[in-house]
C-alpha cells in the first residue's frame, strides 16, 4: 500500500472510530435514567455495540500503524479527536437521543452496505460483521422516530425540535476527510456523495411519514472534523478520568 493511501486510511479509520466512541458514551449517559427499564437495557446494548464498532475500526488502524486503541481513546486531547460535532452534542431528551441515533444508524448502515465491497479485505470483512448489528439498531430507532412523531402533540413537538437542531449537524457525516478521494479512487471506501443520496431519500421519507417537517433553513453545518463544540471537552474529561487517574486501574 502506498504511503499516502495508508495515511489516508489511518485518518479515515480514526474518524469512523471516534464517531462511535463519542456516540457510544453519549448513549451510555442514559444508563439508569432511560424512560423505562426495557429501553434502558436496549440503549445500553446499542452503546456497547457502538463501542464494539469503535474497537473494530481502531483495531484495523492498529494493523496499519501499531497504535494502541486504549491510548487513542483515553489519552488523546479533544483537539486530536476526529469525530463529527453531531455525536458530541449533549444527550438532550429521549427524542433528541433517539433521533440522533436514527440519523446516525441510517448513515452507518448505508455506508457499511457499500463498504462490504471494499477492495481492502480487512475493511470489507469488518463492514460485513458490523452491518448485522447496525440493521437491528436501525429497526429500533426507526420504530422510535415513528412512535414519537405520530405519538402525542408533546412527543411530536420534542422530536421536531430535535430535528430542527440536528439536521444541519447530521450533514457533516457526509463531508469527506482530507485525502478521502484517494481511498475512493482505490475502491477502499464508498463515495460519501452516493451514501448521502440514499440517506436523504430514506430519512426524508421516514421523517415525513412520521409527521415531521424537514427544516427549511438547515442551520449550522460543520465541515471539518478538526473543529469541535465545547461539549467534547467535558465528555472527554469524564470518559477519560479513570484511565488518566490510574492507567492500570487494577486495584479498587
Amino acid at each position: 500500500m502506498r504511503n499516502e493511501i495508508k495515511q489516508a486510511l489511518i485518518a479515515k479509520l480514526t474518524a469512523l472510530a471516534d464517531d462511535e466512541v463519542i456516540l457510544s458514551h453519549r448513549d451510555s449517559e442514559w444508563t439508569g435514567h432511560a424512560p423505562i427499564l426495557e429501553e434502558d437495557i436496549a440503549l445500553a446494548n446499542i452503546a456497547q455495540d457502538e463501542l464494539g464498532h469503535a474497537s473494530v475500526w481502531y483495531g484495523l488502524r492498529k494493523e496499519l500503524d501499531g497504535s494502541d486503541p486504549d491510548q487513542l481513546a483515553f489519552f488523546r486531547e479533544a483537539g486530536e479527536y476526529r469525530n463529527t460535532e453531531l455525536v458530541e452534542l449533549p444527550k438532550g431528551d429521549w427524542a433528541f437521543t433517539m433521533l440522533r441515533q436514527y440519523l446516525y444508524d441510517l448513515y452507518e448502515a448505508l455506508w457499511l452496505q457499500s463498504a462490504k465491497n471494499s477492495s481492502y479485505q480487512p475493511l470489507a470483512d469488518a463492514a460485513n460483521k458490523v452491518l448485522r448489528e447496525e440493521r437491528f439498531h436501525l429497526q429500533h430507532t426507526h420504530a422510535w422516530v415513528e412512535r414519537l412523531g405520530l405519538g402525542t402533540e408533546e412527543s411530536n413537538r420534542r422530536l421536531q425540535q430535535a430535528l430542527n437542531m440536528q439536521w444541519g449537524y447530521a450533514q457533516q457525516l457526509f463531508v469527506p476527510i482530507p485525502g478521502e478521494e484517494l481511498l475512493i479512487a482505490e475502491g477502499i471506501v464508498p463515495d460519501l456523495a452516493s451514501v448521502k443520496e440514499r440517506w436523504l431519500e430514506h430519512s426524508t421519507r421516514h421523517l415525513q411519514a412520521s409527521g415531521l417537517e424537514l427544516p427549511i433553513n438547515p442551520g449550522y453545518q460543520p465541515t471539518s472534523r478538526t473543529y469541535h463544540t465545547e461539549h467534547l471537552w467535558s465528555i472527554l474529561a469524564e470518559m477519560q478520568s479513570t484511565a488518566r487517574w490510574d492507567a492500570e486501574a487494577k486495584v479498587w
Partner: protein, 192 residues
C-alpha cells in the same frame, strides 16, 4: 390516565428444533416494540433463532390445581365467558411441566382448533398427554406476534449476540481474575 404500557410475555426459541419457551416479560407500546425490546432484554448473549410476544391480557391460563377443582366449574366459566358459540379458530398451546430448575419454562407444544379458550383447553388436555402439566397457557394464534423469519433478520437480531465475548465478564481479565493476583502487586508497590 394509566400511563403504564401493557405487559407482553416473551417466548424465545434457542434452536430450530427446540420449542419456544416463556423467558419473561417486557412492557411495550405495541407488538413490534415488544419484539424489539424483547430481543434486547432476552437475546443479548444467549443463542436464539426466533422470538414471539403475546400481550399478557391475551393469555388464558390454568394451573393444575385450578383444573383439579372440577369439570363442572370449567363448564360454568365456559358459559360465563362465551355466551355465543364463536366460529372455530386456532389457539396456541403452552405448557409448563417442571418446577425443578431455577429457570422453568412454559413451552409451546402446538396448536388446537376450538370455539373458545375453554374449549381449546379441553382439546389441549386431550391432545398433549405425554406428560403431566403444572400449568397451561392458551393464546389465540392471531395474538402471537413473531419475529421476522427472514435470514437477514435472524442474522441481525440473533447472530451477533453469540460472538460478543466482550459482553462477558471473563473477557475483562482484571475483573474476571482473582483479587489476590492484584493485591500482591499493590503490596510490592507499598514496600518500595
Amino acid at each position: 390516565m394509566d400511563t403504564q404500557w401493557s405487559r407482553w410475555e416473551v417466548f424465545k426459541q434457542d434452536t430450530p428444533n427446540k420449542p419456544h419457551q416463556a423467558v419473561g416479560s417486557v412492557h411495550a407500546a405495541d407488538p413490534q416494540h415488544a419484539l424489539l425490546t424483547a430481543r434486547n432484554v432476552f437475546a443479548r448473549r444467549p443463542q436464539a433463532v426466533s422470538m414471539w410476544v403475546v400481550q399478557a391480557d391475551d393469555i388464558f391460563s390454568w394451573t393444575k390445581e385450578e383444573l383439579a377443582e372440577s369439570k363442572a366449574h370449567r363448564a360454568e366459566s365456559f358459559l360465563a365467558l362465551s355466551p355465543q358459540p364463536s366460529p372455530l379458530s386456532s389457539y396456541a398451546v403452552f405448557r409448563k411441566t417442571s418446577h425443578k430448575r431455577s429457570m422453568t419454562f412454559v413451552d409451546y407444544v402446538g396448536e388446537v382448533k376450538a370455539r373458545s379458550p375453554e374449549e381449546a383447553l379441553e382439546q389441549a388436555l386431550a391432545t398433549f398427554t405425554d406428560t403431566e402439566a403444572l400449568s397451561w397457557w392458551i393464546v389465540p394464534t392471531d395474538k402471537v406476534y413473531r419475529s421476522d423469519p427472514s435470514q437477514e433478520t435472524v442474522e441481525s437480531w440473533f447472530a451477533p449476540a453469540r460472538d460478543k465475548t466482550y459482553k462477558q465478564q471473563q473477557y475483562y481479565a482484571t475483573i474476571g481474575s482473582h483479587v489476590s493476583k492484584h493485591k500482591t502487586g499493590r503490596e510490592n508497590d507499598d514496600e518500595e
